[in-house]
């Protein structure tokens, strides 16, 4: 068994090395090749369905492989899919769009690199929009890596739009107050005083009172709008329960798709002005702000994977009912 494992591992390693050093880069399929691949995949699923009808079920590893292929291949294709803006994402955008130049937005980064594929594109689009519209951003985080993710988003925005390096001044246009431990207790204290929780910023270690963008910003009552990027607890739920309901903060949220269903009741009850759920929410936000990025690129892979999952669920259910009828 060990020998078989070693052989398989060696083959996989060789495949990756060939891909790294020998294949031409980058790979891009023409439209014709993309269509052929889609047709071949469709035929493959039809074949799997025929096998299922005959009582030969595919194993879990084949399912994993199919999903992996469905996620990978669209990266090399050149399709774009039409995208509708949902009312919840529009609500989040409208809240930002209603702000005048010079307005102050509190952005809370409550996620870690594990959730970056879903939330980082939203964050990057958010920063680009704010930088273009003279909206001042005050960043903080209730997760240790959140504030670092904010720095990465700003860096990515600046790399994509080099003029930001000259136009956007740290301390005047945005500030990163960093992470503070304490979960919802931090939000409670911020309701009285931001300075009590964040005496200094984390980029230049400047005292709170010396940072121009924080002038006259004492607590939530001095903030014009707020946005929360959240992947779990503490996150949007805690912000709504404390900051929105107690201190009447105007807030929109960007959540991972796991979190989003839990935030919908708050959206319905108008405790949130808007909600961006998962990668599709991020893509919609990119579209409505005009700041296209990774979420839009990833959406084709997402859609392919969803179609594969739907087909496999249908085939799986067919197999399930077939077994049931056979047992009867």
């Amino acid at each position: 068994m060990l020998k078989k494992e070693l052989i398989v591992s060696a083959l996989i390693a060789i495949a990756f090395l060939i891909a790294k050093f020998l294949l031409p880069k980058p790979i891009q399929f023409s439209r014709t090749v993309s269509v052929i691949i889609i047709i071949l995949l469709a035929l493959l699923f039809f074949f799997i369905f025929i096998l299922t009808v005959k009582g030969k079920y595919i194993g879990r590893r084949v399912v994993f492989l199919l999903v992996g292929i469905a996620l990978l291949l669209p990266f090399f294709m050149q399709f774009t899919l039409p995208l509708q803006i949902s009312p919840e994402v529009r609500g989040a955008y409208d809240g930002l769009a209603s702000l005048k130049g010079g307005s102050k937005v509190l952005a809370s980064f409550d996620y870690d690199p594990a959730s970056a594929p879903e939330l980082q594109p939203m964050a990057e689009a958010f920063f680009k929009y704010c930088f273009d519209n003279d909206i001042k951003v005050i960043v903080m985080g209730l997760w240790p890596q959140g504030a670092q993710q904010a720095n990465l988003a700003v860096e990515a925005a600046m790399e994509e739009t080099p003029r930001y390096r000259d136009e956007i001044q740290y301390g005047e246009d945005w500030v990163n107050l960093g992470f503070q431990a304490g979960n919802e207790f931090v939000i409670v204290r911020m309701g009285e005083s931001f300075k009590a929780m964040f005496p200094r910023d984390i980029v230049k270690n400047l005292p709170y009172d010396s940072i121009p963008v924080l002038k006259n910003v004492r607590n939530f009552s001095n903030i014009d709008y707020s946005i929360n990027f959240s992947a779990g607890k503490p996150g949007t739920v805690e912000w709504v329960q404390v900051a929105v309901d107690r201190y009447n903060l105007n807030m929109a949220a960007g959540n991972t798709a796991v979190q989003a269903p839990m935030a919908y009741p708050y959206l319905k009850a108008k405790q949130l002005t808007g909600l961006m759920g998962g990668m599709s929410g991020g893509a919609e936000f990119e579209k409505i702000t005009g700041k296209f990025g990774k979420a839009t690129t990833y959406l084709l892979s997402q859609s392919f994977a969803h179609m594969v999952v739907i087909v496999l669920i249908l085939i799986g259910n067919f197999a399930f009912f077939r077994e049931r009828m056979r047992d009867k």
């Binding site: 009552s221 779990g232 796991v258 979190q259 269903p261």
Partner: protein
């Protein structure tokens, strides 16, 4: 002649009237010492103590300057404490509104303040009259939230009442919860197969109520394990949970008369990091192959990974969580799932603790109130919108205000 004189006088009177009338609306040119045209000051300064605060907030409102918005840069707000001098405290940009307001939250409780508003333009600064003196007072109760107090008293009062009832020995009825019956069966299965029971109490700390419920159920499960002389394994991701769980299991073994069979390593700390924890638990599941997996507590993204791996190794799985996002995975992959509040009900049911039973019954009172409010409110609002009956309008307003938070 007389007619002509009358007509002439009428013209003069009318002309005077119009001159006075238009003079009220036209900018009256006030010229300063250097010949600049100053803007007209704002008027009608109203100051009041902010309602239901700790005395540190004063509300200021004023009518716009007649020159607003054309040509003015904004309003300065000046404040004087007692008989002291006025000093500037804020600046408000013009917005073309009829009136403006400002909340001054930097006052000291008990001190008296006076305010003046000035308007600034390129021509200079004009000041309003000083306002009356106002003092910031604090109110002990925020009467705007009286409805929350009443509802809170109803629910909390019910909880306390039922706790006392349970303590007095009266039996409180709780309906059967299907996942619970499977617990003993699941432990029995593990004993027969000679494989351990894996208990995962979620990934949050002891401050989360789901973890508390999980630990209560752990007491019951570990008691059955001790009785059956089976094995339990409990990797945890929080140190506080580890210490509490160890104590719980130790007490269960003691109650079962098997203190010698208990050892601390039944409960071991892995890591706080979510996916590090789940990677380790996955490894334990695949290597140790527990016959029964119990997932009770607060879970996040790791729920599907755990449930899928448990399914893969063929373990009987019982899950319970109050996190709605994770319930779908447990429902799909586990044999039994305690949905939401059933986890807390299970904890109360198994422990028989009067506090838990009383809390559950008290919460049922809260649910009853919620259901009644929904029916009455929805019907009232529907009737009002469809047929405009006045009584139902009053009723729907009452329901809205009862469940308002402002």
């Amino acid at each position: 002649m007389i007619f002509g004189k009358s007509l002439y006088c009428s013209f003069i009177i009318i002309a005077c009237f119009f001159t006075v009338a238009t003079a009220q609306n036209e900018a009256v040119a006030t010229v300063d010492s250097v010949g600049q045209i100053l803007p007209q000051p704002p008027g009608n300064i109203i100051v009041a103590d902010h309602k239901y605060d700790n005395g540190g907030i004063i509300d200021i409102a004023w009518d716009r300057s007649p020159d607003d918005p054309l040509g003015i840069d904004g309003y300065n707000i000046y404040r004087a404490c007692g008989d002291g001098d006025f000093e500037i405290v804020a600046f408000v940009l013009p917005g073309g509104m009829e009136s403006y307001s400002f909340i001054d939250d930097k006052v000291e409780r008990g001190e008296s303040y006076r305010y003046k508003i000035s308007v600034i333009s390129s021509g200079g600064e004009s000041f309003s009259e000083s306002s009356v003196s106002v003092r910031g007072d604090w109110e002990f109760f925020d009467l705007d939230k009286l409805n929350i107090l009443i509802l809170g008293i109803i629910v909390c009062g019910s909880v306390i009442g039922f706790i006392f009832t349970a303590r007095a020995g009266r039996k409180l009825f709780i309906r059967k919860i299907s996942g619970l019956e499977a617990l003993e069966e699941a432990v029995g299965r593990a004993t027969e197969m000679g494989r351990p029971i894996l208990f995962i109490p979620g990934i949050l700390d002891m401050d989360d109520v789901q973890t508390l419920a999980a630990i209560t159920i752990l007491a019951r499960v570990s008691r059955i394990v001790a009785d059956y002389d089976s094995k339990i394994e409990m990797p945890v991701s929080r140190s506080l949970v580890m210490t509490t769980a160890r104590e719980t299991i130790k007490n269960s073994y003691l109650a079962a008369g098997r203190p010698d069979a208990y050892y601390d390593d039944m409960v071991h700390y892995v890591t706080d990091e979510q996916f590090g924890y789940v990677a380790a638990v996955n490894g334990i599941m695949v290597r140790d192959k527990p016959a029964t997996c119990l997932y009770l507590g607060a879970f996040f993204a790791e729920s599907l990974i755990l449930a899928e791996t448990g399914n893969y190794i063929g373990a009987i799985q019982i899950a319970g969580t109050a996190r709605p996002g994770q319930l779908p995975f447990f429902v799909a992959a586990c044999d039994y799932t305690l949905i939401g509040e059933e986890l807390f009900a299970a904890s109360a049911y198994l422990s028989g603790d009067p506090k838990q039973l009383g809390s559950l019954k008290g919460q049922d009172v809260g649910k009853f109130v919620a259901m009644a409010a929904m029916i009455i409110g929805t019907l009232a609002v529907t009737v009002v919108s469809a047929w405009q009956f006045k009584f139902f309008g009053w009723l729907s307003d009452l329901m809205y205000s009862m469940f308002s938070t402002n």
